[in-house]
């Protein structure tokens, strides 16, 4: 039996397949305009990649902001439970998760059996989300993938005082005008976002070991800034971005 998980986030759509408690494969594409189309596309592409037929799929769970749009899924579940389940499936020791996605950031506390004990999410504000970093990358004419490398070369991170993304962007623009080093500005951006995310972790008294998931986990600068703020190391795996889809596939196997 093969089970599928489809995670439609605000920036990317992810799919994962599992078979007999083993990860078969994953795939990521940009979400684009239509969440249902994104769901179909990412699912079909993954099936082709791992050479599995649609008829072999026993159940599908969808998650993420577009979860309700994935009409062909058997059930829609939230990112919180999917990230919790995914992390526990990949590493049963994990007790805490910090998931920073495009639109949402969240901290999740798991009990020993992998069940969600508590969670906290960002409020109605983009600060501390992937979107915040994306807006800043645009202002700095740096690609999102380069943000991490740039910030690791900073000698003195700039101080971003505005919490609001819109105001922080104009602050960054005046820093650019003031000829501050791009590396330092980027490091400052990461520190500002990390401070927002860390609040969520402290709010739920997160327990170690903590895994970082979501697309932003690929950003080394953000991970470093978060670790500095939290005072402990984060576990970042290759599957960080698709962790929610993996969790959805695991939950599909339990339907």
């Amino acid at each position: 039996m093969i089970y599928a998980g489809i995670d439609i986030g605000s920036s990317t759509a992810k799919a994962a397949l599992i078979k007999k408690n083993r990860l078969l494969g994953t795939h990521v594409i940009p979400s684009g305009y239509n969440p249902l189309t994104a769901g179909i596309t990412v699912f079909d592409a993954l099936l082709e990649k791992v050479a599995v037929s649609k008829t072999d799929i026993a159940a599908i769970v969808s998650t993420g902001y577009g979860r309700a749009s994935v009409k062909f899924a058997d059930k829609a579940m939230t990112e919180i439970i999917c990230h919790g389940t995914g992390a526990h499936f990949m590493n049963p020791d994990i007790r805490g998760i910090i998931d920073v996605g495009g639109q949402d950031s969240k901290a999740i506390l798991l009990d020993k059996s992998g069940q969600v004990e508590n969670f906290a999410m960002n409020d109605k504000c983009a600060a501390g989300t992937g979107r915040f970093i994306e807006v800043m990358a645009n202002a700095l004419e740096v690609s999102l993938d380069q943000m991490g490398d740039f910030s690791l070369k900073a000698d003195k991170p700039s101080k971003i005082s505005s919490i609001c993304t819109v105001f922080a962007e104009s602050e960054v623009i005046s820093m650019i005008a003031g000829l501050q080093k791009r590396e330092n500005i980027i490091a400052g951006i990461h520190e500002s976002a990390a401070a927002r995310v860390a609040i969520l972790a402290f709010k739920i008294n997160i327990k170690e070991p903590v895994m970082m998931t979501g697309g932003v986990a690929k950003n080394k600068g953000m991970v470093a800034a978060l670790e500095k703020r939290l005072g402990f190391e984060l576990i970042v795996e290759d599957f960080a971005q698709v962790n929610g889809a993996i969790g959805a596939a695991v939950l599909a196997s339990r339907l």
Binding site: A76, M77, T78, E79, I80, I81, F119
Partner: protein, 409 residues
Amino acid sequence: MSDKSSDPKKINCAKKMRDIMTTYYLDAMTAEQNNKQVAWITSGGPVEPLVAMDIIPIYPENHGAMIGASKMGEDLCIKAENMGYSSDLCSYARTDISCSVVKGGPIGGLPKPDMLICCNNICGTVLKWYEVQARYYNVPLFILDTPICHTRYSPEVAKYVRAQIDEYIVFLEKITKRKFDYDKMALVGKLAYESQVLWQKVLNTTAHKPSPMSAFDAFFFLALIVTLRGTQTAVDFYKDLLAEMKQRIKDGISMVPNEKHRLLWDNLPIWYRLKWLSNKFSDHNACLVADTYTSAWCGAIKYTDKNNFLDSIAEAYTRIYLNIGVDQMANQVLDMIKFYDVNGFIMHSNRSCKPYSFGQMDIMRIVREKTDIPVLMIEADMVDPRNFSQSQVETRIDAFMEIIKQRSH
């Protein structure tokens, strides 16, 4: 997603209440023609002396709830902001202030007041809000100052508040140019007491599993205990409502058809999203069985002496839910969690209501320490929909319900 639940059996008393409320507002609208006076009063203010003096009490906060429920809040809030009021100001205050000027809202504005009665047991905002209205309408304002009772009701506070009750009566005698009728006051006091006892009994019926009504119904049926407390109408109505609830229990009728999970709600309702929220919880087979808000209108009965009403209301009005210490509030929440046997607690962090939202983080921590039920906080506003983000609230509620379902397995 889960199947849409079948329509629950409606509560018959709802129509009766709508009729009573319509009559009440019509009476108030035509007060001047009938040589009656109108007093605007805060929701937590002592209304009984007004009823005893045959003055029609009008509640801007009840009106605010109506504005919110009819989704007219955003427009009126913007109008107040255009007048110069901050968007951080309570949305009841903003809509009331702008509605007075533009005569908008679902009933075209409230009848002009002859006097204003402001009791600060619910918040500090009402002081400035009522001062603004006293200037706008050029009418006298009476302020009843009830110090916060963090731990106890001290003899000094008792003396201070009791003296103001006498001043209140002198104020009413002066405005109406009539003598205060203490005999009628005793009768009104008994009716007020009786209606509060009945309201508590109505709320208690939801301890039954499955619950015959939900907090969403309580938010609606609350209107009478707020506006017509101290009248025979309110007593008769709640007798009927209680009887209907008892009958529903007998007949096995529940508000949520497949009630599996029972939840407690904290803070004011999100008036413009009642239906959406109610359906959301029903879809999860969850019933909001109780809330800390509607019980605030009977929470201080224990301090009320129906045979010595005037003396006892000083204490009863001072020791209401929003005017006590956070530890005491948390104790009430813990009692409710136990009494209604709920398996989840949802806190509405209400941008408008500062005194209600201020201690919530502490109450959340206390509930987590003393019970094993999950607690969720959602951020919104009671009337201003610009502070509500549907997809974010939806994800939080869905995730919260997933946790509850996981635990009940």
